[in-house]
């Protein structure tokens, strides 16, 4: 995601400027910078997402958008946590300064897990794909779409003391969805179908060799989400036309 050129990181918001724990830049997208830090106590690891001001935007507009987006992301995360969907919890935020601090999710991304897996472990992969579908299904069941589903936006969190297994390259663990910057609350089948379609396309391009496994994702999705039938039917339409409509004029 980040460009090759190094841009200066934005000034850190207040509670973190005095932190003794060094901040590590994890990634820099178009919208936000993500740091690893600690929150309140030095032993509570946290992910800090900062939305730096955009100098080309009118300052009034910039503040309005930052506020809306910080709040929208935090609200979606809070809703998911309340409804029992595995997401990082919100620890703190400031819409004035444009940051959200979230629980740090241990483990690797699903992308890394799939790439680094033991190729012989067909069953493990199958199970992982089902759990991925299950996570998306539970998300959709509570009326939330993610907006940017990819295997890099899913973490594989080691469960209980089986943590070592996760480290060792196994495919066990709980799926935790992250990066809700484009998420929204919706009741529309179309939005859910597009969400799945985006995942399908991203999965195909990131893991071409495992593309045939996407059916397992949909299986897991159906188990976890009662309203899946309509969404999957709609997915057929979306597949036919692509995410984009045909152009007029």
């Amino acid at each position: 995601m980040a460009t090759t050129t190094k841009t200066t990181p934005p000034a850190l918001p207040v509670p973190f400027t005095t932190s003794t724990t060094p901040l590590t830049l994890i990634t820099q997208g178009a919208e936000a910078h993500l740091y690893r830090t600690t929150f309140l106590t030095p032993t509570t690891p946290a992910a800090l997402k900062i939305r730096p001001p955009k100098p080309w935007r009118h300052p009034v507009l910039d503040r309005r958008l930052t506020r809306q987006r910080v709040l929208a992301e935090a609200r979606v995360l809070a809703k998911c946590a309340r409804e029992g969907v595995a997401v990082p919890g919100v620890l703190g935020l400031s819409w004035e300064e444009g940051w959200v601090a979230m629980e740090w999710v241990e483990g690797r991304s699903v992308k890394e897990a799939v790439r680094g897996r033991d190729v012989g472990d067909e069953e493990g992969l199958r199970g992982l794909m089902r759990r991925v579908g299950g996570a998306v299904g539970r998300l959709h069941a509570v009326g939330v779409v993610h907006g940017d589903l990819t295997t890099s936006n899913m973490m594989l969190r080691p469960v209980g003391d089986g943590g070592e297994k996760g480290e060792a390259g196994g495919l066990e663990g709980e799926i935790v969805l992250i990066d809700f910057g484009l998420a929204g609350q919706t009741v529309q089948e179309e939005d859910r179908a597009v969400d799945l379609y985006v995942l399908e396309r991203a999965f195909g391009s990131t893991h071409p060799r495992e593309e045939g496994m996407f059916g397992e994702v949909l299986e897991g999705y159906m188990e976890a989400f009662k309203g899946s039938k309509g969404t999957l039917r709609r997915l057929e339409d979306v597949r036919m036309r692509g995410r984009k409509k045909s152009m007029i004029g």
Binding site: M1, A2, T3, T4, T5, K6, T7, G29, A30, E31, K54, P55, W56, R57, H58, V60, L61, R64, L65, G147, D148, L182, K244, K245, S246, M247, I248, G249
Partner: protein
């Protein structure tokens, strides 16, 4: 040396241009007369020397303030002017008829009647002069002309005009659309807003909005509708039209509409300023997202709205933050023109592409990712 004539008339501009591609043989190791100054850049230039614009003429159908251009009237305008423009363009280009290799015309997308009027002219020339036809995708024309003029090699392209709003990046011989307007185009939003305020359509409504916006300073809240890499403008248009009516009403009443913070009256200029700030911020945002996605740091702005200097400045700020730069052209190439059709058509012709008379139709729908861009790696 390949020469093409291009005819464009997908909207209210009729354009005719003549282009020449200087051919060059790749320099052989023995041919080292200028090897001292053979920097990597000049060598690249030697492989593909810049296209030469021999003539580039345009005539615009301008409708009265408060109205837009209708397909029927626009087609009549194109029919009335096309012969004069072709004659003049050929005269100015000083090329002999036998040196022209192909006749390029806009196949689409655009308004049906104007497209057809120009396609008929192109077919006629093709029969009369016995030259092959090349049907060109209008959007690809904009992109190729922008690349040729600015020298941007592999930029993310923001194509913004009265009919189109797209964020495009090149990949595997197609111009892929990463984001686009889900309803009306940004230029259409500006044009229709100009009609509500009775802003002149001469030379272009967007130009007049830009000049007025320079005097505006109060930002009024408008919807901001970005969905991932897509945008939507119809709700913004409805809102800003409502604001314009509110302004007119407050003028005729005793209670003027004042800015909440400064207490100064809201003006027409403020509305233009507000609209521009809002929609351009949206465009820069989706462009930045596409750049982050593909890992590019060059951005090229094409299309009529691309002339807007405020949009260029905002884009420049964004690009420089990402360690890159913005490429834009002036009104000769930003606004619809014949030369861009000639440019894209000639590139295709040199790869062996031709449009037979039977196939020389037009289409109102023609997506940017349909044509095969086989002249690029």
């Amino acid at each position: 040396m390949p020469i093409a004539i291009g005819l464009e008339g997908s909207a209210n501009k009729l354009g005719v241009g003549v282009i020449l591609h200087p051919t060059s043989t790749p320099p052989s190791p023995h041919d080292s007369a200028h090897s001292d100054e053979d920097s990597p850049q000049s060598r690249k230039k030697a492989y593909s020397p810049p296209a030469q614009i021999l003539s580039n003429l345009r005539h615009t159908f301008v409708s009265p303030p408060g109205t837009g251009f209708l397909p029927k009237d626009t087609a009549a305008h194109h029919r009335r002017w096309v012969v004069r423009l072709v004659k003049q363009a050929m005269k100015q280009a000083k090329v002999k008829l036998e040196d022209v290799d192909c006749i390029c015309y806009t196949k689409g997308p655009g308004m049906g009647a104007p497209l057809n009027a120009v396609a008929v002219a192109a077919r006629t020339l093709s029969q009369l002069w016995n030259k092959p036809l090349v049907g060109v995708n209008h959007c690809v024309g904009h992109i190729e002309m922008g690349r040729a003029i600015t020298g941007a090699e592999n930029p993310v392209v923001l194509y913004v005009s009265g009919g189109n709003t797209q964020v495009i990046a090149y990949s595997a011989q197609r111009y892929r659309i990463f984001g686009e307007a889900l309803d009306i185009a940004v230029g259409n939003c500006l044009d229709r807003f100009a009609r509500v305020l009775n802003i002149s359509n001469d030379p272009a409504p967007g130009y007049n909005i830009e000049q007025m916006a320079k005097k505006g300073k109060h930002l009024i809240e408008l919807p901001y509708t970005v969905k991932g890499m897509d945008v939507s403008f119809s709700g913004i248009l409805a809102s800003v039209e409502e604001l314009a009516r509110k302004l007119e009403k407050s003028k005729s009443s005793d209670a003027p509409w004042l800015d909440a913070e400064s207490g100064e009256p809201i003006t027409r200029e403020d509305l233009c300023f507000t609209l521009q700030e809002n929609v351009f911020a949206m465009l820069v945002e989706i462009t930045e997202r596409a750049m982050a996605h593909v890992g590019a740091n060059q951005v090229l702005i094409v299309g009529g709205v691309g002339c807007n200097e405020r949009l260029q400045d905002m884009m420049g700020l964004m690009a420089s933050e990402r360690g890159g730069s913005v490429y834009a052209t002036d009104e000769r190439f930003c606004i619809d023109n014949g030369i861009m059709i000639a440019q894209a058509g000639l590139l295709a012709w040199r790869m062996g592409f031709k449009t037979t008379l039977e196939e020389s139709t037009t289409t109102q729908r023609f997506r940017t990712d349909e044509p095969l861009i086989n002249w690029r790696d």
